[in-house]
Symmetry: C2
C-alpha cells in the first residue's frame, strides 16, 4: 500500500510499504477513507533529524473495517469507524477514569508504529479504540466526524479539563485548528465570554463563527494589556493554551485570573517552565491539560455532529489526495491552509 | 514594644521598636497573645543576606484588640481575634471568589511591614482580616485556634485545592507541621488512604494520629517504588506537596496517578520546574495550589476546633517566651522541635 514517510525536516514522501496485518487477536485493519495533517505533525516537519528508514506519519482517521482479529466483538467488516489518535482498551483502571491516553494497553499512532496517512491502518485494541459511525451517515458529515479523532475533541479536552462552564470568561491562545476547536467547545460548554488570541483574519473569522466574542491580535505585553482590559483588569477564569511553545505558556500565566486555570493541549515543546511564586503559585493558578482523552468523549460528541448542532469540520479549508500530502504539509506550514483533509 | 528582627541568615534578635499605630481608618492594633514560628520563616533563616535595618518576622497571631480605626465595624476593643497571615478586605472580586490572598487591598504580614512575632501588631483591613474568637473560649484551645492563622488551614488549602474527597488516595510529601496538617485536613475531607512521606518518627507518629494510613520513610526512587506498591502501581489521585523544594516536586509528579492532581502549599524555592510531556503533560496531571486562602476557610474551621472535632494545635511541641525566640528558630531549624508556640 502507499503510506506517508518523513525522512527529515521538510522531507515528506508517499511510498509503497507492506500492508498492515492482524498481529494481535484484538487488532482490526481498516481501509483509511479520510485522514488529515495535524498541527503537531509540523513539529517533526520543522525539526526531524535525517531518518534513513523514514518515519510513518498521521494519527487521525476514518476508515472502513477490512479485517478483524478473532477477539474483536464490537466491529464487523464493512463498518465505518472513527479512530482516535491513541488506542486504548477502554476497560482498564485509567480508561474507567476517562484518562484513555494512559491506558495500560494503550499507545499512540504515528512515529515508528502504525500511522494513518496511508491507505490502510492496523488498529490495536480495536474494540476499545474504534467507534462505529451509523450506517447510512451522510458523506458530507465525514470531515466533521474526522475531527472527533483528534482536533475538535482536543479543543474540547482543553475546555473540559479547564472547567469551562456558564458564566466563565475564557481566553483561547492560538488560532490554529485546535484553538478554533477550543472556541467551539467553550461555546458548547456555555462560556460567557470567549476571547480568541490570534492574528490570521481568515482563522479568527471562523473563530467568531464558532463563538468567539472577542479577538485579540496583539501578543506579548500588548496582548496581556488587551486581555486585562477586556476582563475589567481581572484576567480570565480559564486560559486554553493550544500552541505548545513557551511564549504561549508565558502569555497564559500572565492573563489568568487569581484562582484560575490554564489548560494546555498544545504538545509542549519545552520541559521546564515557570511555576513558582511569580508565575503560577502566587496567584493560586492551576495548570492542567495533556494529551486529549478523545476516546472518552466520542460517544457524547458523535450525535452533536450527526444532528448538526456542531460543525467542527469547517476547520478543513483544503482537500488533497494522499499522493499530494507533501503539498498539504507545505500549505499548513506556510499557513496558506488551516487544515488539510487527505483522501487516500 | 519588643519585636523580632532577622539581620541575616541565622541572626534573630528581639529588640525595642516603635509601637504600631492606626495608620488607616480600616486598621486595628492588637496586643499579640499567641504567635509562633513558621516553617517558611526558616527559608530566610537559611538564606537572608545581611540586612542592616533588620527584617521584621512573623505572620501567625492571636491577639486582643487594643485600638480600632474609625471605619472598623465588626471588631471592638477587648475582642480576642485570629489574624491570618495575609490581610484582605473580604469584599473584593477575588475575595468573593475565595482567593483572599489576591485581594486588591490585601498584603502579607512579615517582611518589611507589620509582623506578628512581636508584642503588638497593626492589622490592615481589620474588618475583612480578623476573625473574633467567642468570648469565654477555653484558653487551652488557643494553640489549635492559632493554627487557623496559617498552618492547619494551609494544609486544608492543599487538600481542598487538590480535590481530596471520599474514596481518594492521597500522598502527603513532608512531615513538617504543614504536612501533618494536610494529613488531618485530608482525613476531615474523607480521603480513603493517606500516605505520609516523612522520616522523623515523632512526626510521622503524630501523622498517624491525624489520620495517615501509611508512612513511607524512603525518598527518591525508593520512595516512588513504595508509593506505587501501596497504590497497586497506579499512583495517588492527589499529591499534597508541603515542602517547597525541587526534590519534593519531582517526587510529586512521579507518584501522581494519570489524571491526578498535585497541590502545592510549600512556598516554592524555585521558579522553573518540569511541566512537559515526561512530567505533568503526558499523564494529564494537574498542578495547583498557592498561598493558602486562610480567610476563606476560618469560619468553617473555627467551630470544628471549638467542639473538639479537630485538634490541629498538637503540632506545637514546644512553647517559649518572645525573649527566647532565637532559640525557637534554632530548635525548628535543627528539627529538635516541630513547631514552637511563642508567648509575647
Amino acid at each position: 500500500m502507499r503510506a506517508t514517510l518523513m525522512y527529515g525536516a521538510g522531507d515528506v514522501r508517499v511510498e509503497e510499504v507492506a500492508d498492515p496485518t492482524i498481529e494481535e487477536a484484538t487488532d482490526a485493519v481498516i481501509r483509511v477513507t479520510y485522514a488529515c495533517v495535524c498541527g503537531s505533525d509540523l513539529h517533526p516537519y520543522h525539526s526531524l533529524e535525517h531518518t534513513p528508514e523514514g518515519r510513518r506519519m498521521g494519527h487521525e482517521a476514518i476508515g472502513v473495517v477490512e479485517e478483524i482479529g478473532e477477539d474483536v466483538r464490537t466491529l464487523a467488516v464493512g463498518d465505518t469507524v472513527i479512530v482516535p489518535f491513541a488506542w486504548s482498551d477502554n476497560t482498564c483502571v485509567f480508561c474507567r477514569d476517562g484518562i484513555t491516553t494512559s491506558c495500560v494497553h494503550g499507545g499512540f499512532f504515528d512515529g515508528a508504529g502504525s500511522a494513518t496517512q496511508a491507505e490502510r491502518l492496523r488498529v490495536p485494541q480495536a474494540d476499545g479504540t474504534a467507534v462505529v459511525v451509523p450506517a447510512g451517515t451522510d458523506e458530507a458529515l465525514m470531515p466533521s466526524l474526522l475531527t472527533l479523532s483528534d482536533v475538535y475533541l482536543t479543543g474540547h479536552h482543553a475546555a473540559h479539563r479547564g472547567g469551562v462552564a456558564p458564566g466563565k470568561t475564557v481566553v483561547v491562545i492560538g488560532d490554529g485548528a485546535v484553538g478554533l476547536s477550543a472556541v467551539l467547545a467553550s461555546r458548547q460548554l456555555g462560556a460567557e465570554k470567549i476571547i480568541l488570541m490570534g492574528r490570521h483574519e481568515a482563522r479568527t473569522s471562523l473563530g467568531r463563527d464558532f463563538g468567539a466574542t472577542h479577538v485579540v491580535a496583539e501578543r506579548g505585553d500588548e496582548g496581556v494589556t488587551r486581555v486585562l482590559d477586556l476582563t475589567g483588569g481581572e484576567g480570565a477564569h480559564v486560559v486554553l493554551e493550544a500552541v505548545g511553545h513557551m511564549p504561549a505558556y508565558e502569555q497564559a500565566y500572565r492573563i489568568v485570573r487569581p484562582g484560575g486555570v490554564i489548560s494546555r493541549v498544545g504538545v509542549p515543546q519545552y520541559e521546564d517552565a515557570p511555576v513558582g511564586f511569580t508565575s503560577l503559585f502566587g496567584k493560586n493558578a492551576t495548570l492542567t491539560g495533556g494529551p486529549a482523552t478523545i476516546r472518552a468523549y466520542i460517544e457524547a460528541a458523535l450525535p452533536q455532529v450527526l444532528d448538526g448542532s456542531i460543525d467542527p469540520g469547517r476547520v478543513f479549508d483544503r482537500e488533497l489526495p494522499l499522493s499530494e500530502i507533501a503539498e498539504a504539509y507545505r500549505l499548513m506550514d506556510s499557513r496558506e491552509a488551516l487544515k488539510v483533509l487527505i483522501r487516500p
